[in-house]
Symmetry: C2
Amino acid sequence: MPRTLKGLSLIGLASAQPGERTFHAADARTGERLEPAFHPTRPADLDRAAAAAEHAFGAYAATPPAERADFLRAIAAELEARGEAIIERADRETALGDARLTGELGRTANQLRLFATLLDEGDWLDIRIDAGDPGRTPAPKPDVRSLRRPLGPVAVFGASNFPLAFSVAGGDTASALAAGCPVIVKAHPAHPGTSELVGRAVRAAAREQGMPDGVFSLLFDDGYEVGQALVRHPLVRAVGFTGSRSGGQALMRLAGERPDPIPVYAEMSSVNPVFVLPLATRRRPGPISDALLASFTLGAGQFCTNPGIVLLEAGEAGDVLRDRLVEGARKAEAHAMLTAGIHRAFGTGLQRLADAGARRLAEGHRAAGLTAASAAVWETDASAAVDDPRLTQEVFGPSTVLVRYRSDDELLAFAGVMEGQLTATLHGEDDEWERYRPLVAALERKAGRLLVNQVPTGVEVCRAMVHGGPYPATSDGRTTSVGARAIERFTRLVAYQNFPKALLPNELA
Amino acid sequence: MPRTLKGLSLIGLASAQPGERTFHAADARTGERLEPAFHPTRPADLDRAAAAAEHAFGAYAATPPAERADFLRAIAAELEARGEAIIERADRETALGDARLTGELGRTANQLRLFATLLDEGDWLDIRIDAGDPGRTPAPKPDVRSLRRPLGPVAVFGASNFPLAFSVAGGDTASALAAGCPVIVKAHPAHPGTSELVGRAVRAAAREQGMPDGVFSLLFDDGYEVGQALVRHPLVRAVGFTGSRSGGQALMRLAGERPDPIPVYAEMSSVNPVFVLPLATRRRPGPISDALLASFTLGAGQFCTNPGIVLLEAGEAGDVLRDRLVEGARKAEAHAMLTAGIHRAFGTGLQRLADAGARRLAEGHRAAGLTAASAAVWETDASAAVDDPRLTQEVFGPSTVLVRYRSDDELLAFAGVMEGQLTATLHGEDDEWERYRPLVAALERKAGRLLVNQVPTGVEVCRAMVHGGPYPATSDGRTTSVGARAIERFTRLVAYQNFPKALLPNELA
């Protein structure tokens, strides 16, 4: 197991040559420069990675599903075997802490194993067979069989906030590899060392399992050039991305401007509104405020499912819940954020709320450290939030805005104007659901996942999960990037008519 | 049953007001102006149609599937009851002839009934249930259930070449209505009378079945304004289109430029290459040339699956097949095309082939009549076809180009450069398949449907059918516009976490 980082892109089973320019990772807590130097992938090496992926595709797409399942399980095992080194580096690069990173590594391995299980089962292929009937009149009925086939080489962009579960061997990579697509990862520049360690684990598994050279490559860059070239590359057939709205929109534009547009699955931004209904406000102010506090400060608020907006009744009952939340937030410890840039953006987001007239109710403990962020609770009125989009834009970090509503109409008006979201949450009591059916119906059109009396952070990796949502939460609100159905994103339907058995794909014969 | 055409858009259950400007349909055979005058939909009426669709959506999406199935079956019955009038008008507007139109009406009714059956069965919902486990450590497992939900109001553009099966009550409309989406159809200006008759049948079925007002509207326009406004309309959530490449690309652009991009399912263009392999060329020249002749001249060649390119071995064996095809084409009757514009475009396409150096081998009977088109057979070399894209562009009409290949390498090179297609067909013998596995693998990446020893025209409406294909055959090569899976295009995944039973969608409770 190589523990020494080289800072070089992995082009299939080989390493790239060093270039002239380099960049370094930084310790997320101290800003200290971390060795080694990383070499942005040169255009020729990107071309080699794409050509190798294209070359590998034929053989890889034709591997028996059981072999791809073994490959995925081998990646999971390699990650676990190298877990200590991966977590140590990831903690320095992200400040997320051992406990969170240990959990995330486990989740990453579990995701890989979930897709391996899907491959064993085969339902994801959506096999359909219409037997022919040569005697049908007026025209014979042809034999038509169809299933999902892999798209081809897939580009995956690592996410800053999930250095493992949504990065080099994360959900997009696992689902694309499971579908039969070679993967070219563009590592996130904030955690290149973690990315290289994970990339080496994937490469080792590919070697062990005899996978075709080119089934996996890993590219580095601290700028935009490599990522843009990857999305424009004629051999790339789809893109997976988790990151900012502006980043996702840029990739959508690039992919749409290609001579042959390709699908982009970008998970971009969400404020995950929480609707606290009147009876729940009165009966459970403590548990609800405690759950919200834990949820919006978790991991320094750096989750795409962070509850950044809480709809709360105006008046005394709401005040009780609010005051408890504020009291808790004031006591919350400050935490280092992922990068200095994210910390700066957090400050800008808070200033935007202040400029828009939101009232700041709480600020948690301050702490030394370049990137330390304190919990922030804000308050505004529903009418203001409906009118001024600055009050409901995502602030990536431990901040939440209490939007005080005076009537059911205000709640519905808010649900009507809110943007597409990954999640929407309701806290309510059994004897008030009937009254809020119209609200539930409105939210169903705005979010990919609706929750009742739980918190949106902590996305369960399971077969029924939907981690998606209408634009601008994602670029393609029909799909999910977490859970079993994520594999479908990297496939297309192909039908075989009147094929001799010998020529049919094995699954259809 | 109203048989008198009014020329007014149908806005939900009401008719639009007449406008100032009007247009007329033309008899496709004679150019004679057909009454009545049709009134392009005014912007205010388009807004009314969209608002009515949005208003209907909540109630319509919540209808029990059995009620939507009844609605679809009622549309089919209304179409059949009004069949004589519909076919009479459609024949004047399209020159497709009674036999073809009778078959197409039957197919249209069958499509509606196929989706009704899907609604009865429910598999299309893709229901997944992960039961919760409150006792799981370290964290309780939440109850997560998910299924497909309808997207919202859908815009459907009628196709010129299928006045019934891909128009007002065609596949896009049937699948969107089945999914639970209200539909706003923009009628094709070449057959507005047929469109109005079919639209009235849909409206009558909606009335009979007590469907919410706004579940269906029908708009007219002989220009682009109404269609463009429809795709830009904020309440429209998806677009279905069958037509030209330039038309589909324009809609893709409009949808992508919206503040909230929406999915466009455009079926655009395809030359449906047919690969005649060497042994088949030698053993079955007669049956293969006869089948090709019938296929490329069917309906004056006005099918999206028309075989416009035939890869044929150079040399004597290929010449035998070619000569028989040419002989047949010379005897083929001329047929009126759908419109004068399509006839002009056919002439332009033939001229483009001549300009690119293709050799014209045959021209069928000429006939009087504004839009009469004769069968045309062309010949070129595979190397020329690989180099000059003019030789492989779609020529919409009864024309096919024999591309003569000298080696397997030339065949593979052609498959490598060819654009995405709806179909690709192989004619081969059992003892040559092994040799052509690489060709089959290459074609699998370029087409939505692969056929062996049959012809691509005549798309079977069945569960396994895939009528789609990589760009530019369609805007979204992951999907199909024919067959059971077409319903999935108008849905998105939604998950419900920890929902009380009373609040879950019926299908999940």
